[in-house]
C-alpha cells in the first residue's frame, strides 16, 4: 500500500512537471513566434527556407527594408492560390465542376485553349479545320512531352477524346457530351501528327467545345494505373507538374522544365481551399496566399483598404436568374412571367447586394457570347406595369414561393430575399421564400420529368464555351436536362442553329431565338455574376471570365 502510494505520487509529480514544462514552452514559443512570424509571412508558404534569410516584407524590421531589389535574382518565386473548395480527385475527365478544373488545368491541357478574353488559342494542336460538315481535323504540335518524359502521340489524343465521350473507354464519366455537343461521337482517327474526329451531326461549335474541354492524358499511363492512382497523381503536358498531393487539403506544383510553350514565371504553385470566405480573405491579408477566389461584397472594402492586396473583379460566364415553369399556373401565363420581370428591381439588387459587381441581363445569352442580341434591353423596374400585367393575366391575389439554394452562388440567399420582397410588395401577388440546401434542390431541378421540377427557383448557369446554345439547349428547350420551357418555336430555332454551318447565319438565328426568349420571359432575368478575386501585391495576375485561374501567367511584382 505505501509503495503503491509513492509510485503514483511520483507519476503525478512527473505529470505536473511535464504539464508545467509544456505551459512554459508554449508561452516562450508564443513570444518567439511574435518576432519571427512576420518574416515567415513574406515567403508565402514556401517552406524551403526557415524565414531566416527573408526579411523583405512590409512588416520587416526596418533596417532591411532598403534592399527590396535583392530578391529578384536567385530567390524562387512561389504562388499560392486559395479556392473555395478542393478538387474531387485529379482525374481531368472524371469531374464536372470548376474547382477541380482549375486545379488540374495547371498540368493538363487540351488541343486548344482560351486566352484571357475567351478567344480560342492553340495548345496541343497547332491547326484545326472542318474538313467536312461533321468532321474536324487537328494538326498536333511537335515535341510535346508528358511530365513522365514520354512523347505525346496522336494515339493519346484519340484515347483522351474517346475516354471523355464513350463509355467503353474508362467507363461512364460525367463529361459525356463535352466534345460532341448535342450529337454523338462517331469516329476518331489517329494519323501521323494529326487526329480526325467525326461526329454524328454537324456539331457547329466543335472548336468552342474543344477549346474548353477535352484535356489530353497519356493512354498507357491511364491504362497501367488504377483509379486511386490517377486521382492522386498527374501526368499532363502543361506548365506545372505535381510535387505533392494531400487529398482535400492541398496540391503542390513546380515549374515543368520541359514545357513546350513559354514557361510559367512561378517556380512553385500551391493550391489550397477554404470554404469560409472570411478565412480566405484573412489568409490573403496575412500574406499567406496570393490569389483568393470569390471575395464576397461585404469583404471588398477590407481588402481594398489594406496595403498588401487588392480586389480584381471580372465579369464571369455565369448568369443568375429566377426560372418559372411554363406549364404551371400562374407561371403558364406569359403576362404573369413578364410581370415578374417588371416587379424585380435588378439594378438595386446589383447596387446594394452585390456592391455593383454584376451586369443586368435581359436575355439568356451574355454579351461576350456568340448569339448575344445587342438590341435587347433589360425589362427594367416598373411595379405599376407589373401589377397591371398580373391583373391582365387573371392571377391577381395569387400566392407563390421562390426557392433558392443556400451559398451556392454569390449572395444567392440575399438576392432571392430581395427579389421575393419586391414581388411580395406588389399589391396583387404574395411571394414567399424557401431556402434549400443545394444538393437537395438540384435533385428536384434535374428531375427526369418537367412536371417534377420546382415551379419558381433561383439558379445560376456557367457557360465556359461562350456560345448561346450551351445555355439555351439544357435550360430552355423541350429535351433540355433541366428545362422548364417547352416551346416549339424555340426548339425549331435551336434546331436550325445546330445544323447551320455558316457562322454568320447561325449567329442571326441565335439572336432571333434570344429575342423570342426575352419576350417569352421563362426567367426573371437577373444579372451576370462577377468573379471577384483578391490578389496580393506580390504578384501580377489578371483574372479571366471563364472562372479558370491561369496561374502560369502570374508574375512577380
Amino acid at each position: 500500500m505505501p509503495r503503491d502510494e509513492s509510485e503514483s505520487q511520483v507519476d503525478r509529480r512527473t505529470l505536473l512537471k511535464a504539464v508545467g514544462g509544456a505551459a512554459a514552452t508554449v508561452s516562450v514559443a508564443g513570444c518567439g513566434g511574435a518576432q519571427n512570424t512576420p518574416t515567415e509571412g513574406g515567403d508565402d508558404g514556401g517552406d524551403e527556407d526557415d524565414g531566416e534569410t527573408e526579411t523583405d516584407t512590409p512588416m520587416g524590421d526596418g533596417e532591411t527594408e532598403d534592399t527590396p531589389t535583392d530578391d529578384g535574382g536567385e530567390e524562387s518565386f512561389s504562388v499560392g492560390v486559395t479556392l473555395g473548395q478542393m478538387d474531387s480527385g485529379l482525374d481531368p475527365h472524371d469531374h464536372a465542376e470548376t474547382p477541380t478544373n482549375i486545379i488540374v488545368s495547371q498540368a493538363y491541357e487540351g488541343l486548344m485553349g482560351r486566352d484571357k478574353e475567351g478567344a480560342i488559342i492553340a495548345k496541343l494542336a497547332t491547326e484545326w479545320e472542318r474538313v467536312e460538315p461533321g468532321t474536324a481535323r487537328f494538326t498536333l504540335r511537335d515535341g510535346v512531352t508528358f511530365q513522365n518524359g514520354d512523347e505525346l502521340t496522336s494515339e493519346d489524343v484519340r484515347y483522351s477524346i474517346r475516354r471523355v465521350e464513350t463509355e467503353e473507354v474508362g467507363g461512364a464519366l460525367p463529361q459525356d457530351g463535352d466534345l460532341a455537343g448535342t450529337g454523338t461521337l462517331e469516329n476518331v482517327e489517329a494519323g501521323d501528327g494529326e487526329v480526325t474526329v467525326t461526329f454524328g451531326g454537324l456539331n457547329p461549335i466543335v472548336f468552342q467545345l474543344f477549346a474548353t474541354n477535352g484535356q489530353v492524358m497519356q493512354q498507357s499511363w491511364v491504362e497501367e494505373n488504377g483509379t486511386d492512382f490517377i486521382n492522386r497523381n498527374v501526368n499532363g503536358t502543361g506548365p506545372f507538374q505535381l510535387t505533392g498531393y494531400e487529398s482535400g487539403t492541398s496540391v503542390s506544383y513546380e515549374n515543368y522544365g520541359d514545357y513546350w510553350g513559354e514557361p510559367a514565371a512561378a517556380d512553385e504553385l500551391t493550391m489550397t481551399a477554404s470554404s469560409e470566405s472570411s478565412t480566405r480573405v484573412n489568409q490573403l491579408l496575412a500574406e499567406e496566399t496570393d490569389i483568393v477566389t470569390n471575395v464576397p461584397p461585404q469583404e471588398i472594402s477590407r481588402v481594398q483598404s489594406s496595403d498588401v492586396a487588392s480586389v480584381n473583379p471580372v465579369p464571369s460566364t455565369r448568369i443568375i436568374f429566377l426560372q418559372m415553369r411554363y406549364d404551371l399556373e400562374p407561371f403558364s401565363s406569359q403576362q404573369f412571367r413578364q410581370a415578374m420581370n417588371y416587379a424585380v428591381d435588378v439594378e438595386s439588387i446589383v447596387e446594394n447586394v452585390l456592391q455593383g459587381f454584376g451586369e443586368i441581363t435581359g436575355q439568356p445569352t451574355l454579351s461576350q457570347f456568340t448569339g448575344h442580341n445587342p438590341d435587347i434591353d433589360p425589362y427594367g423596374y416598373d411595379p405599376d406595369e407589373a401589377e397591371r400585367l398580373v391583373e391582365e393575366s387573371g392571377h391577381a391575389g395569387v400566392d407563390i414561393t421562390l426557392q433558392t439554394p443556400i451559398g451556392r452562388y454569390l449572395r444567392d440567399v440575399e438576392i432571392a430575399q430581395a427579389a421575393a420582397n419586391q414581388i411580395d410588395s406588389l399589391s396583387n401577388v404574395n411571394c414567399e421564400l424557401q431556402q434549400r440546401e443545394f444538393n437537395s434542390l438540384v435533385q428536384d431541378v434535374t428531375a427526369p420529368n418537367i412536371e417534377d421540377r420546382p415551379p419558381f427557383t433561383l439558379l445560376g448557369w456557367g457557360n465556359a464555351e461562350f456560345d448561346a446554345s450551351q445555355t439555351i439547349v439544357p435550360l430552355l428547350t423541350s429535351d433540355g436536362a433541366l428545362s422548364i420551357l417547352q416551346n416549339e418555336e424555340v426548339d425549331s430555332l435551336i434546331e436550325e442553329a445546330q445544323n447551320e454551318s455558316n457562322p454568320d447565319e447561325r449567329e442571326q438565328v441565335l439572336q432571333e431565338c434570344n429575342q423570342l426568349l426575352h419576350d417569352l420571359a421563362p426567367w426573371v432575368f437577373l444579372h451576370q455574376q462577377f468573379s471577384v478575386y483578391g490578389v496580393s501585391n506580390n504578384v501580377q495576375w489578371q483574372p479571366r471570365p471563364d472562372e479558370l485561374i491561369d496561374a502560369w501567367t502570374a508574375t512577380q511584382n
Binding site: 512588416m59 480527385g89 477554404s274 496575412a286 444538393n439 436536362a481
Partner: protein, 330 residues
C-alpha cells in the same frame, strides 16, 4: 486478468457500436434528399449519363445489397472508394487522422494546463477575487461559441498582429520530433508547428478548460470539507500536502473521466473549429462528405471516430482503476 477481460468486453461492445453507426448511416440514405450523382455529374447531364454513373458506383443496386456488400468488404479491411474522388477511402481517412489527433491532444493540453491549477486556486481561495475571476473566466469560456472565438483569434492574432497563421497546418508534430535528429533546424520547425496549431488548440480547448475548471473547483471544495482532510489537518500535516496530495488526487478522479470522454468528443466533434481554421482533419472531411453525399467517405470517417471513442473509453476505465484502487472491474 480482469483488465484483459474488460478490454475484450469493451472491444466487442465497440464493434457493436461501429456496426450500429454504419447501419444508421445506411438508413440515412433513405431519407436524405439529394444524391451523389449531383456532385459527380454536371447539372445538364442526360438521364443516360446519370444512370450510367449510378450503375458504375453501384447505386442502382437495392440498398440491402449495397449494405451487404459494404459489410463483407469492410470485414476484409476494405472501406471502398470515394464516390466523388475515386480515391480509396482508407487512405483518405487515415491521412486525416494524425491532424485531428494532434489538434485534440493539443486542445486537451491547453485545457489541462490552465484549468486544473485555476480550479485548485479558486477552491482554496474561495470567495476571493481570484475565485471570482476564475468563475467569470470559466463562465465566459463555457458560453462562448468556439467558432466565434476562432474567428476572433484569427482576426486579432493572425491578421492584426500577424503572430500566428490564419489557417491550415504547417509542420506536423512528427516533423518537430524528427527535426531533433534530422537536418531541419529544430527551433524553426517547432515555431512553424506552433504558429499553426496554437490558435485552433485554444479555440477548441477553451470550452473544456472552462468545464474542467468548474469541475476541479467543485470537486476540490467537496473533498476539502471531508473528514479525512480534517483528520490530516488535526494530525498537523502540512497544508500543501493535505491539499495537493490528498484532496487534489481524489478530485482528479471525475476530472479524468470527463477529460477522457471529452477527448473522444474532440476527435469527432472538432468539426466546426476545423472548418474555421481549414485544419485538414477528419471534421472537414465529414462536412465535405455530407455536402457531396459521399457516403463511403462519410462511413469511413464515422468508423474511425466511433473506434476512437471506444478506445478512449477503455483507456479511461483503466486509468480510473489505477487512480482509485477501490474500483473493481467485473
Amino acid at each position: 486478468m480482469s483488465l484483459g477481460r474488460l478490454a475484450v468486453k469493451r472491444s466487442l461492445q465497440g464493434i457493436g457500436v461501429v456496426w450500429g453507426v454504419i447501419t444508421v448511416v445506411f438508413a440515412l440514405r433513405f431519407i436524405t434528399p439529394g444524391s451523389v450523382i449531383n456532385a459527380v455529374a454536371p447539372l445538364d447531364a442526360s438521364q443516360e449519363t446519370r444512370q450510367a454513373i449510378a450503375a458504375e458506383l453501384g447505386l442502382d443496386q437495392p440498398l440491402y445489397v449495397q449494405y451487404g456488400q459494404y459489410l463483407v468488404e469492410l470485414v476484409q479491411g476494405d472501406m471502398g472508394f470515394s464516390y466523388v474522388k475515386g480515391q480509396a477511402v482508407v487512405t483518405m481517412v487515415f491521412e486525416r487522422v494524425p491532424a485531428t489527433l494532434e489538434l485534440a491532444v493539443a486542445a486537451t493540453v491547453v485545457a489541462i494546463v490552465l484549468s486544473i491549477p485555476l480550479g485548485v486556486l479558486s477552491a482554496t481561495r474561495r470567495n476571493s477575487p481570484v475565485d471570482y475571476g476564475a468563475t467569470l473566466f470559466s463562465l465566459g469560456g463555457i458560453s462562448t461559441p468556439n467558432f466565434w472565438l476562432g474567428i476572433m483569434l484569427i482576426l486579432v492574432f493572425a491578421v492584426q498582429f500577424d503572430v500566428f497563421q490564419t489557417s491550415g497546418r504547417g509542420a506536423t508534430s512528427v516533423a518537430v520530433v524528427a527535426s531533433l535528429v534530422g537536418p531541419e533546424p529544430f527551433v524553426g520547425t517547432l515555431l512553424e508547428w506552433l504558429s499553426y496549431i496554437t490558435l485552433p488548440a485554444i479555440a477548441l480547448g477553451t470550452y473544456f478548460m472552462a468545464l474542467i475548471t468548474r469541475l476541479t473547483r467543485s470537486g476540490m471544495l467537496d473533498e476539502l470539507g471531508k473528514s479525512y482532510v480534517r483528520a490530516a489537518r488535526a494530525k498537523g500535516a502540512p497544508e500543501a500536502l493535505v491539499r495537493y496530495k490528498h484532496a487534489l488526487r481524489n478530485t482528479l478522479i471525475p476530472v479524468i473521466t470527463v477529460l477522457g470522454l471529452q477527448l473522444g468528443t474532440l476527435i469527432g466533434g472538432a468539426v466546426i473549429t476545423e472548418a474555421v481554421f481549414a485544419w485538414p482533419g477528419l471534421g472537414t472531411l465529414v462536412i465535405q462528405s455530407i455536402n457531396l453525399r459521399d457516403w463511403p467517405a462519410l462511413q469511413g470517417c464515422l468508423i474511425v471516430i466511433g473506434t476512437a471513442f471506444v478506445i478512449v473509453n477503455i483507456v479511461v476505465d483503466i486509468i480510473y482503476g489505477y487512480l482509485d484502487p477501490r474500483v473493481v472491474y467485473d
